[in-house]
């Protein structure tokens, strides 16, 4: 009997399984942040419950931290309260916290892998939908709501209905592996399968075009699984995976033995059956830019904004959605993508703020200056990323080009801190969601790769970044 990678992980974490019922699944890693946890801890207090496994739980502060000078007091009192609440909750319940001034602070999905907390074959949850990022290590990693955060804290388990499996097979070789990034691959996939194409399924990304990617590039792919409606996406671990996690701060001491066990086991068996399958040839993929208000509304850089009818293809709901999106985005159909001018650039988020993202963006920026009509900022994904980037001198390259160089956090991906767009501002963003108001009420977001964001910061409009490299 053959099994997919997901089924292997699932089967090895079942605590209780009864016919026609959801299964009780054990959770190996629980990551906690300030926004989705206060009500969960309150629930524990009211019911006099403890955290079952503080040793499998870790917290950080990322969503609403300021990215400016952290020696200054926080201006936003409600954010400050939320942060203090997490500090108190971690203290009261014995949970390790990487707080605002800790060198391990950073976006939760960036620090998990960086610290060796993320492990192949494990189950990982966090009260955040982009937990799917960590599926890049061959883990079943998924976002949960606050009630499930409380449930995990109290029991280290969750009741889950077994998701179906969905194979995403990426074949071929990118024509320009600097300018066509893993962000462009995942945006192209979402464009094809839709924002709910993966609902009820765990995606497994497979094929030579996936193996070819670095761990950080794979994380970008798995990160956006949720934008295709999938709670989780995963990639079978290989030598790159094992190398990445070796010698990290919290990598287990018996790591080499663990790797021996994972090799030849943590992969979908030959001929294993997926409930759904989709194939994409990456050779045909161009740099991508989103034009609408969901991550399936995406165009090739050489393309034009489609008419609602072209986009909707006889589906009245989609046609109406596209009309509404174009009104919100203040864009006309048939506009060439390269003619769209921008006001802001945000290089950051759990999708694209790891070291390689910053290295690639810096290659574009080096020796150039941000267009005078554009405000651009770089927000590293974690303090560790920031430090490594500074060791390479990337901060200087960005600052010399008039980019702002900030402290780490979620920042303008969702604008819970002061980093927001003003109404009507148009932003090239390396984040994951172009929803209405996501980066600030009335703000207009275009999702792009780090190199596209960097090049458009210089040019003041979107450009075919293949011609820059």
């Amino acid at each position: 009997m053959t099994e997919t990678l997901f089924e292997k992980i699932w089967n090895s974490h079942i605590v209780v399984e009864r016919e026609n019922e959801p299964s009780l699944v054990y959770i190996d890693r629980h990551l906690v942040h300030e926004v989705t946890s206060p009500q969960a801890f309150d629930g524990l207090r009211v019911n006099h419950r403890k955290v079952r496994r503080p040793d499998l739980t870790v917290a950080t502060i990322d969503h609403n931290v300021p990215t400016t000078d952290r020696s200054l007091p926080m201006i936003d009192e409600t954010s400050s309260t939320q942060i203090k609440t997490l500090e108190k909750n971690c203290k009261d319940f014995g949970i390790k916290l990487f707080g605002i001034n800790h060198p391990n602070q950073g976006i939760v999905h960036v620090i998990g892998p960086q610290l060796g907390i993320t492990l192949p074959g494990s189950t990982i949850v966090c009260g955040d939908s982009h937990t799917s990022t960590q599926g890049a290590f061959g883990a079943f990693a998924f976002g949960i709501g606050t009630s499930e955060v409380e449930h995990t804290l109290a029991t280290q388990t969750l009741w889950l209905e077994k998701p179906k499996t969905f194979e995403i097979l990426a074949t071929g070789k990118r024509k320009n592996s600097f300018a066509v990034t893993s962000k462009d691959i995942i945006l192209s996939i979402i464009k094809k399968i839709g924002t709910d194409g993966g609902a009820g399924h765990v995606l497994e990304y497979r094929g030579d075009a996936i193996s070819d990617l670095s761990m950080e590039q794979r994380m970008t792919i798995c990160n956006m699984s949720i934008e295709a409606g999938s709670r989780a996406g995963l990639i079978a671990p290989d030598e790159k995976t094992f190398d990445y996690l070796n010698n990290r701060q919290y990598t287990p001491k018996n790591y080499n033995d663990l790797v021996d066990g994972w090799k030849n086991n943590l992969m979908s068996d030959t001929n294993s059956k997926f409930d759904k399958s989709f194939t994409i040839d990456v050779e045909k993929i161009e740099p991508q830019v989103s034009w609408g208000t969901n991550p399936a509304m995406v165009s090739d850089i050489t393309g034009k904004i489609p008419t609602p009818e072209e986009f909707g293809q006889n589906n009245e709901i989609q046609i109406q959605s596209a009309k509404k999106a174009l009104t919100y985005m203040n864009l006309d159909p048939e506009t060439p993508i390269v003619e769209i001018s921008i006001d802001r650039v945000f290089i950051g988020s759990c999708t694209n703020a790891r070291l390689e993202d910053l290295i690639d963006a810096a290659k574009i920026v080096k020796g150039k200056t941000v267009n005078s009509n554009v405000d651009a900022m770089v927000v590293p994904g974690s303090q560790m990323v920031k430090l490594e980037a500074e060791k390479l001198g990337l901060d200087k390259i960005f600052k010399d080009a008039n980019f702002e160089w900030r402290e780490s956090g979620c920042s303008m991906c969702l604008g819970m801190n002061p980093d927001i767009l003003k109404p009507g501002e148009r932003c090239a963003s390396t984040s994951n969601r172009n929803f209405e108001g996501r980066q600030g009420s009335g703000g207009q977001t275009h999702l792009v790769s780090p190199v596209m964001a960097a090049a458009s910061a210089i040019a003041g409009h979107f450009v075919d970044v293949r011609e820059w490299s």
Binding site: G143, H151, T195, D196, E227, Y250
Partner: protein, 195 residues
């Protein structure tokens, strides 16, 4: 959690697809540390203009629907962020039932944890319901939506149904499996982060 009882209410038609949780409750309202008080911020950017005045053409500002407990919407409702605040806001505003052709996975799961019933119906059934201006009756026990002399059956997982009807606490139920959880921990090679 309060047991889910029979609902008699008019329907609020909300004909939008891919409604994401950023719209349901924008991020500036996620900083509260309680579960209550989110209703006044529901769909904030769609309900209010930049001066904070209600927009007349937005359906939730129409007083005819003031007491409605049932929201009917379009496909992929609740996509995006996992924020349970979206369900807290809908519930606090007065919605106990959301009907849609499809829901995003995390939102769907979050509903049940808060006594909100998400019902999946096909487009034709939804179109039928959208024509009804009078109150309809929603009976979870018999899994029926009753309007006039007619009714529509809906599907729901039997365990979720029982938990809603009895208002059971998930954690209480799980703690009954404590022995199994302990056995699992003994027999598996769980690796602590902090040794």
């Amino acid at each position: 959690m309060k047991p889910f009882s029979k609902i008699i209410s008019i329907i609020t038609p909300f004909d939008k697809a891919n409604v994401d949780t950023d719209q349901i409750i924008p991020k500036q309202f996620l900083k509260l540390i309680t579960k209550t008080g989110f209703g006044k911020f529901l769909f904030y950017d769609w309900r209010f203009d930049h001066e904070g005045q209600p927009k007349n053409d937005f359906i939730l500002n129409n007083s005819n629907y003031k007491d409605s407990q049932i929201l009917i919407t379009n496909e992929n409702f609740g996509c995006g962020s996992s924020r349970e605040h979206a369900v807290w806001a809908l519930k606090d505003f007065g919605f106990n039932v959301i009907i849609s052709p499809s829901f995003a996975d995390i939102f769907y799961s979050n509903c049940f944890k808060n006594g909100v019933l998400p019902i999946i119906l096909n487009i034709d059934e939804i179109k039928k319901l959208l024509k009804i201006k009078d109150k309809i009756e929603l009976d979870l026990n018999s899994q029926k939506i009753i309007y006039g002399d007619e009714f529509i059956n809906f599907e729901i997982d039997s365990h979720r149904k029982i938990r809603l009807l009895e208002g059971l606490d998930d954690i209480d139920l799980t703690l009954k499996e404590n022995e199994q959880i302990g056995n699992f921990e003994k027999n598996s090679s769980i690796m602590p982060i902090f040794e």
